[in-house]
């Protein structure tokens, strides 16, 4: 799905990876209620103007499918989109290795947007905690 269909390519000067994920996010949405193997987690707050919700569907100890929703600035939306994409096929141990620093590197997130990377780390850690609690 192409969310933003523009003839202007990134006039705002966002880092390319952020712009790509923001304009072309995949796996937006959520799984149908009761889908087996799904863990959900949310991080952030409305007051802080960024909320990220991740859903990871595990199958045989690996992420088989993903969904996300995000409310926030383009960087936080891109973080959500990147995480779910990256998660596909990964084991919980592999997922646990991802930190804010990796997100900042992967998406070229600037210092003043470091909180967007933290948001991603928080959401993923929460999902893993939920997975651990379930299994």
């Amino acid at each position: 799905m192409e969310a933003i269909n523009s003839t202007e390519t990134n006039p705002f000067g966002y880092a390319e990876p952020i712009w790509q994920r923001f304009t072309h996010p995949r796996h937006v949405g959520e799984f149908a209620q009761g889908t087996p193997g799904v863990v959900s987690a949310e991080a952030g707050s409305k007051a802080a103007r960024s909320v990220l919700r991740l859903q990871l569907r595990f199958e045989g100890g690996r992420v088989a499918d993903v969904r996300f929703r995000a409310y926030g600035c383009p960087s936080s939306i891109a973080v959500g989109a990147w995480i779910v994409d990256w998660s596909l096929g990964k084991t919980p141990v592999e997922l646990a290795a991802l930190g804010a620093a990796d997100l900042r590197k992967a998406l070229e997130i600037a210092d003043d947007r470091a909180h967007c990377a933290l948001l991603g780390e928080d959401a993923l850690q929460a999902a893993l905690a939920s997975y651990a609690a379930k299994s």
Partner: protein, 388 residues
């Protein structure tokens, strides 16, 4: 790219460029208008012609127009100049009344004067964006030297009641400065009948060049100012510095054109603004900022529930619109104007100011509305918080 940011700045009218070009070539009239030789006198004549053109749009006399580098300077000069000349004679702190929804250059000037011991009352407008004359009168004290209010707000387009207020201030002997940057060329202004003392205008909001402005300084009764730019004593000692002939000639042409087209421009642009608002009704939970009954023709400011402001703007790369004024949007803080109207941070941030102008077409409006609707819907859909 659809440009809907005419309140931030406008392109030159091609006729304005034609008026500027004769001063931009070596065989043209390029001399310093202060020079006392033939070419200098010719440049001076162009400056004086433009002065008359600017005065005409405002119902002023030519010698009441002082050239500046833009309305930021005009506002600084009006407020600081009036305070410096008129303030603090009785040993008490002089007092200014203004509002929280003024342009940054008025607010920051007033805040600077506060650090110099001036007392400033920043009135809060109603949720409709209007500052009532009664509010202003109540705020006056015996020390009040100046009231500074804008005619039309640049973010929400609300037309303030300066016409009703002006005679009330004149009666009370209080100087009245009006920032008319967004009013000139959009609403009729006749300073022969409205007793405003000082009035700021800018060229680049009405198809003239950026970097050219003027301050109207009333002669009868005479408004007195201390100059803020010292030098050779140009502009009757009120503003020194070499006059930029091409800029001034362009500003004159822009004002003359604005005077000729004012009614037609206003009618057409207001029609397009209404069309845009009508189309946006396809979206639930949107709010129009500023009283629609007191709206200048060219501005429509809308808050969109459930979307984050920066993402909204970033999702519309083909649309040149702004959130708040050009000056404040760089900092990406939520608009202080919308905050002053009582909008919360989130809504203040999730707002777009559409400002329309001579180049705006119905087709552009339809396209813009379509994009905005689509993107707001998309961002709402993306949000984990949105509940339709």
């Amino acid at each position: 790219m659809i440009y809907l940011d005419y309140a931030a700045t406008t392109p030159l009218d091609p006729r304005v460029l034609q008026a500027m070009l004769p001063h931009l070539t070596a065989d043209g009239s390029f001399a310093n208008p202060a020079s006392t030789h033939g070419p200098g006198y010719k440049a001076r004549a162009a400056v004086e012609r433009a002065r008359a053109q600017v005065a005409a749009l405002l119902g002023a006399e030519a010698p009441e127009i002082v050239w500046t580098s833009g309305a930021t300077e005009s506002n600084n000069l009006a407020i600081k100049g009036a305070l410096e000349f008129n303030g603090g004679h009785n040993g008490r702190s002089p007092h200014i009344v203004t509002s929280r929804t003024e342009h940054k250059c008025v607010l920051d000037t007033c805040r600077h004067l506060e650090t110099q011991g001036v007392r400033v009352t920043f009135l809060r407008p109603g949720t409709d964006g209007v500052v009532s004359p009664e509010q202003v009168l109540e705020a006056l004290t015996p020390e009040t030297v100046l009231v500074s209010l804008m005619w039309v707000n640049n973010e929400i387009g609300v037309v303030q009641e300066v016409q009703r207020l002006a005679p009330l201030l004149r009666e009370r002997g209080v100087l009245f400065h009006v920032d008319a940057v967004q009013a000139a060329g959009k609403l009729p202004i006749d300073l022969r009948v409205i007793p405003i003392d000082l009035l700021s205008v800018s060229a680049h909001k009405i198809y003239g060049p950026k970097g050219a402005g003027a301050l109207y300084v009333r002669k009868k009764p005479r408004a007195r100012l201390a100059p803020q730019m010292h030098g050779g004593g140009h502009e009757w000692g009120m503003r020194s510095g070499t006059l930029a002939t091409h800029q001034i000639a362009g500003m004159g042409a822009a004002f003359e054109i604005a005077a000729a087209q004012l009614q037609d421009d206003a009618r057409r642009v207001a029609g397009l603004r209404d069309l845009l608002w009508q189309r946006l009704q396809a979206l639930p939970r949107i709010l129009r900022n500023g009283d629609p009954q007191r709206a200048a023709p060219h501005v429509l400011n809308v808050s969109f529930e459930g979307v984050e402001g920066e993402a909204l703007r970033a999702s519309l790369p083909d649309l040149a619109v702004s959130s708040g004024s050009a000056c404040s949007s760089a900092t990406q803080e939520p608009s202080y104007v919308l905050r002053a109207l009582g909008r919360d941070d989130e809504l203040a941030n999730a707002s777009l100011r559409f400002s329309l102008g001579r180049g705006t077409t119905a087709e552009q409006i339809e396209q813009a509305a379509e994009s905005v609707i689509k993107q707001v819907q998309w961002l709402r859909e993306l949000s984990p918080l949105w509940k339709p």
